[in-house]
Subunit: 288 residues, 2 copies
């Protein structure tokens, strides 16, 4: 069953992240990093492991890359939750880092989690230096001012914009905010194998968008307890979302189409990519 | 003259940083990144170029590494200046990023500047992938939870501590806060050349501490206009500094001793390291 496989991978990735922080200083900033790394579905890390498996790379040899993408994701959540950003008090069912500690600790813990992500990409078990360096470059591309940070900046700008975003604008925003890191995760196996990244790039582009549409649907009709975070805030803030632009049924239909596109993009891999197809279906069926 | 050489390198590094952001999106976060990268002495970048020259590496082949350390340094200043951290309004004689834009933009610009630093370490001109990967690993080591971020966290913790820090504690704090990145800069040439990092590590350890003692002296007797930032704030906040612990004359004598130690550490390189010796002398003679 897919949820079992995801949970199993999540446990392995969680252990790798614990190990990466083992022996670090007994300081609030380190405790906050550890706290921010707990929980979560680890879907991005799972994509790394499955993309690696598709290229004949063992889980052990891909694990630091899976941990890296989760560390990067955790940093982005800690900073996005800050009062000056989305101002969220709850994340993964727990108080956010700046609530549990303070804003300074949250800024620093996020900063150090980004650094940790790049450090993890240097782990020798990942293979030849050239491949690891490609991984570093791809992570920088996905997370920086052309990827995730740009998406978050566009999202914040949208809050004070005169008019709600158009469908085209929100698609561009989400391609950065969530799509870029999902793209990195899905392509990581191809990068580590030195293989063609094309099919996985196409898969991830569709999956990333489906994932975000599902998030917007969850924001409207999800269960806050299952989601572990505040819901309904986008609609409350009058922000344009895929649901406000396409309607609830339209958004669901679009997400389903995108999952089909994601599945088709994996055709070159045949049956070997079945778990990645499961992951795409999971992305729009999840409750959190 | 040393100041001319430093200014010349600063111009080259500034141009490299401009080029790294050329063509990026016309968004406030990108403008803020560009703004944060302007000005400064570029002493860290200069150390990279001189450490490279010592190992027969041309300026052109070391320039992205020099730009990387300055991008990393700029990110740390943007985040350290935030209201939840040191709450500074002025930096390099200009309003800080969160004053000129807002806190969200400052957090995101800092985040993207850290990413940019790692992206710059991947530039092919820096040499074989293995060396570039070593550079990435060294930068992660210097900037993360074992280096710069830990130092800043200790500094913030010290503000609410019951007793002022001891000389030993403040030395450990500064080894992280400023020493780690100066160490990376000084060792970068040896990393890129695959050479022994020992002598430059010893040089940087002494230089980094001398640099911070000089900062504490400047905070007491510097000219705010020349420094381009608020001065006297450590003494005003009752914080322990090298000056409060050693006295003004004691701090000056210690800084001078450390420069001598830094100079001696360069003995294996003979006359070829004269500019790095000049840099150490400059570190305690500067007015900003």
């Amino acid at each position: 069953m897919f949820p079992d496989r995801l949970a199993e991978a999540a446990a392995e990735i969680g252990a790798a992240l614990e190990a990466a922080l083992a022996g670090k200083a007994d300081q609030p900033v380190i405790h906050a990093m550890r706290y921010a790394l707990q929980g979560g579905k680890r879907l991005r890390g799972f994509l790394v492991l499955e993309s690696a498996a598709l290229h004949g790379i063992s889980r052990a040899a891909a694990l630091p890359a899976a941990a890296a993408v989760e560390a990067l994701h955790a940093y982005s959540l800690v900073h996005d939750d800050l009062p000056c950003m989305d101002d969220d008090d709850l994340r993964r069912g727990q108080p956010t880092v700046h609530v549990r500690w303070d804003e300074a600790t949250a800024v620093l813990a996020g900063d150090a989690l980004q650094t940790l992500a790049f450090a993890l990409c240097c782990e020798p078990v990942l293979g030849p230096a050239e491949r690891r360096l490609s991984l570093v470059a791809a992570l920088a591309q996905a997370s920086g001012a052309e990827g995730m940070v740009l998406g978050q900046a566009l999202d914040i700008a949208a809050e004070s914009a005169a008019a709600p975003l158009t469908l085209e604008e929100i698609t561009a925003l989400q391609a950065g905010k969530t799509g870029a890191l999902i793209g990195f995760a899905a392509e990581a196996g191809a990068i580590l194998a030195g293989a063609d990244r094309g099919p996985l790039r196409a898969y991830a582009a569709a999956l990333g968008l489906a994932f975000q549409i599902a998030d917007d649907i969850l924001d409207v009709e999800g269960d806050p307890e299952a989601a572990g975070k505040r819901l309904g805030k986008d609609a409350g803030a009058g922000k344009a979302t895929f649901v406000s632009l396409l309607g609830l049924e339209g958004a669901k239909a679009r997400a389903k189409d995108l999952v089909t596109i994601a599945e088709l993009a994996l055709a070159p891999y045949g049956a070997a990519a079945e778990t990645l197809r499961d992951a795409a279906r999971f992305a729009i069926a999840r409750q959190s």
